[in-house]
C-alpha cells in the first residue's frame, strides 16, 4: 500500500440536538477500495457528501476537516468547516480536481437536457483534458461500456439504472481526480450488473484510484473491498480488513 490520499478528521455534523455524524475519522490510501457500510440513517451518505463539500454549511452544525494529501504526505488541500473564502478556495481546488463523486441517485444526477456524450465531453473539457469524440468514447469504455458509441446520443431519461450508474462513473473518472466517492452505486441493480460494476471499480482501484464505496451489499464488500468502515448512528463502530469485519458481522 502506498501513501494516504484523503483523510477525514473529526467530522461532526449535527441536526437539532442529535449529531448525525459524530466524530468520524478515517483515511483512504492510493489504490485502496474502502467500503463504508451501515444501516440506513447511519450517516454513510452524509459523510460521503462531506468529503465533496456538499453538506450545506450552517454555523455550528459542521465541524472537522477533510484533507487531500500529495504523494509525499503533505496536504495539498485542507477543507476547513468554517465558512469563508478559505473554504470556498479549498472546495474549488478539491471538487472535480482531486475528488470525484458518484451520486446515489445516478439518473437524476445527470443533466436531463444534454446527451450523455455531451456531458462526458463537457466534464473532460472542464478538467482540461482532450475532449474529442475518441477521448469521450474511451472515458465511457473505461466505465464498463463495451460499446460506448451507441450511448453518445442518448438522453439520460432513456438510460436504465445500471447504465446511468456507469455514466456517472465515467463522469467521475473523466475529471481525472485520483479519489472517488461512490454513494451506493449498486442499489437497485441486478446482481450480475452489480458484480460487473464493482469489478470495474475494483479494476480502477488496482490502477491507483482511491475509492470510498458506500454500500449495503456485504457480500460484494467481502469479495471486492480492501477495508471496511462500519458506521452506526453516525459513529465508526468497526474498522478493518474487509474479510475480517464482514465475516463476523454476516453471522
Amino acid at each position: 500500500m502506498t501513501a494516504t490520499i484523503l483523510e477525514v478528521r473529526k467530522l461532526v455534523i449535527s441536526a437539532g440536538e442529535a449529531p448525525l455524524i459524530d466524530d468520524v475519522s478515517f483515511a483512504v490510501r492510493r489504490g485502496e477500495l474502502l467500503a463504508v457500510v451501515g444501516a440506513s440513517g447511519a450517516g454513510k451518505s452524509l459523510s460521503g457528501r462531506a468529503m465533496v463539500g456538499l453538506v450545506p454549511f450552517l454555523p455550528g452544525v459542521v465541524s472537522g476537516e477533510v484533507r487531500v494529501l500529495g504523494d509525499d504526505g503533505t496536504a495539498l488541500v485542507t477543507v476547513p468547516s468554517e465558512v469563508g473564502p478559505a473554504r470556498e478556495r479549498a472546495l474549488k481546488a478539491l471538487r472535480g480536481r482531486l475528488v470525484g463523486w458518484i451520486p446515489q441517485d445516478a439518473r437524476a444526477a445527470l443533466s436531463p437536457i444534454d446527451t450523455v456524450g455531451r456531458q462526458v465531453a463537457d466534464a473532460l473539457r472542464h478538467a482540461g483534458r482532450p475532449h474529442d469524440r475518441d477521448s469521450m468514447l474511451e472515458a465511457l469504455a473505461q466505465a464498463g461500456f463495451p460499446q460506448p458509441a451507441v450511448l453518445v446520443n442518448c438522453y439520460p431519461h432513456t438510460l436504465s439504472g445500471g447504465m446511468a450508474r456507469r455514466v456517472q462513473v465515467a463522469l467521475g473518472l473523466s475529471t481525472g481526480a485520483p479519489f472517488l466517492v461512490a454513494d451506493e452505486p449498486t442499489t437497485g441493480l441486478d446482481r450480475p450488473v452489480q458484480a460487473r460494476l464493482v469489478q470495474t471499480l475494483r479494476r480502477l482501484c488496482d490502477g491507483g484510484l482511491g475509492l470510498v464505496w458506500i454500500t449495503h451489499e456485504l457480500g460484494l464488500v467481502r469479495r471486492f473491498a480492501d477495508h471496511v468502515v462500519v458506521l452506526e448512528r453516525g459513529c465508526v463502530v468497526r474498522k478493518g480488513p474487509a474479510t475480517e469485519v464482514i465475516d463476523e458481522d454476516s453471522l
Partner: protein, 308 residues
C-alpha cells in the same frame, strides 16, 4: 387441514416498453405452492427470482397469465380487492404508512377496519415498542420505527394468512429471529405464514417447510428438517454453503435467461439437457418420511435425484 393459499401452475409475465419496442419478462413460470392451516412456509431465493411477485399475486395485486390461485378457498381470478384475512408485509414496509399520520391514528384506522378495540391498539404499540412514539407522525419516525409500525398494523388485523416479504430486511441479525417469531406467534393455530426472504438461516429458525425459487421457478421443496440432509438442488446447496451450513467454496451461481435451467451455464454438474429444456420438479425417493411429517421432497434437477 385446509389450504389457506393454493397456487397451481401460476405464470406471470410483465410487459413493458413503448409501442415500438415491446419487452416482456417472465416473473413467475408454472409455480405450484400451498400454505396450509397452522403451517409456516419459507420461500427462499435471490432478489429478482419472483418471490415478491408471488406475494403480490397471492394478495391479488398482480393478475396471472395462466394458472389458478385460491386464497382462503376463494378463487382469485384477476386483480381483485384483497381479502381482509390475508395481510401482506411489504419488503420496504416503512414506506407503506402514510407519513403524515401518527402511529396511533394509523393503528386506530386499522382497528376500525378490522373490528379491534383501543385496548388492542395499545397492546400492539406496547408489543412493538412504539408506545412512547405513538403521537409522532410516521414520517418523523426512524426507518426502523416505521418498519415496526407497518408490521404492527398488519398484526393488528390478525390475518389468517400472513404474507411477509423480507420482514427482517435492515433489522440486525440478533433481532431477526425474534421478529419472525413474533409474526409466527401472533398468528393463531389455524393461520398460516408465508415468509419470503433470502436468508436461509431465518427460514430454518422459523419455518416448517422450505421452498426455493430461482429465476421465477420453484427448484426445490422440502421439509425444514430435510435441509440438513443431502441431496439438494445445486442452487440450494450453494445457498447452504453461503450460510455456512455446508462446507466447501460457494460457487458463483446467478440466474440467467436460458431455455433450460437458469444456472445451467455455471453449474459444474450441468448436463446438455439442462441447457436445453426446463427441468421439472421430481420427487426424491425419500428415506426420512418419519421425521419430515410426510412432506414430499421435490427437486427440479436430475442430478441429485438420480444420485439418490
Amino acid at each position: 387441514m385446509t389450504d389457506l393459499l393454493r397456487m397451481k401452475g401460476v405464470t406471470v409475465t410483465f410487459r413493458g416498453g413503448g409501442w415500438l419496442r415491446r419487452t416482456s419478462t417472465c416473473a413467475l413460470s408454472n409455480v405450484d405452492l400451498s400454505v396450509q392451516e397452522g403451517e409456516s412456509v419459507g420461500l427462499v431465493g435471490e432478489s429478482g427470482c419472483g418471490k415478491s411477485t408471488l406475494a403480490r399475486v397471492a394478495a391479488g395485486l398482480v393478475s396471472v397469465d395462466s394458472g389458478e390461485v385460491d386464497v382462503l378457498g376463494q378463487r382469485v381470478d384477476r386483480t381483485s380487492p384483497s381479502v381482509r384475512d390475508v395481510q401482506l408485509i411489504y419488503q420496504n414496509v416503512d414506506a407503506h404508512v402514510d407519513p403524515h399520520w401518527t402511529a396511533r391514528r394509523l393503528l386506530r384506522e386499522s382497528a376500525d377496519v378490522h373490528g379491534r378495540q383501543d385496548a388492542d391498539v395499545n397492546a400492539i404499540l406496547e408489543r412493538v415498542g412504539l408506545s412512547h412514539r405513538a403521537e409522532v407522525a410516521a414520517g418523523m419516525l426512524s426507518g426502523g420505527e416505521r418498519r415496526r409500525l407497518g408490521v404492527a398494523r398488519v398484526l393488528l388485523a390478525r390475518p389468517r394468512l400472513l404474507l411477509a416479504d423480507e420482514p427482517c430486511a435492515g433489522v440486525d441479525a440478533a433481532r431477526r429471529v425474534d421478529l419472525a417469531t413474533a409474526l409466527l406467534e401472533h398468528s393463531g393455530p389455524s393461520s398460516g405464514l408465508l415468509l419470503i426472504t433470502h436468508d436461509l438461516a431465518l427460514v430454518q429458525a422459523v419455518c416448517d417447510r422450505v421452498v426455493v425459487m430461482l429465476g421465477g421457478r420453484v427448484v426445490e421443496e422440502c421439509a425444514k428438517i430435510d435441509l440438513a440432509r443431502v441431496p439438494h438442488h445445486p442452487y440450494t446447496r450453494a445457498l447452504l454453503q453461503a450460510s455456512g451450513q455446508l462446507s466447501g467454496a460457494v460457487p458463483l451461481l446467478q440466474a440467467a435467461s436460458s431455455k433450460g435451467c437458469p444456472i445451467a451455464a455455471q453449474c459444474s454438474s450441468a448436463r446438455d439437457s439442462c441447457k436445453r429444456e426446463v427441468q421439472r420438479l421430481q420427487r426424491v425417493p425419500d428415506a426420512g418420511a418419519s421425521t419430515n411429517k410426510g412432506v414430499a421432497h421435490r427437486i427440479a434437477c436430475p442430478v441429485p435425484v438420480e444420485s439418490r
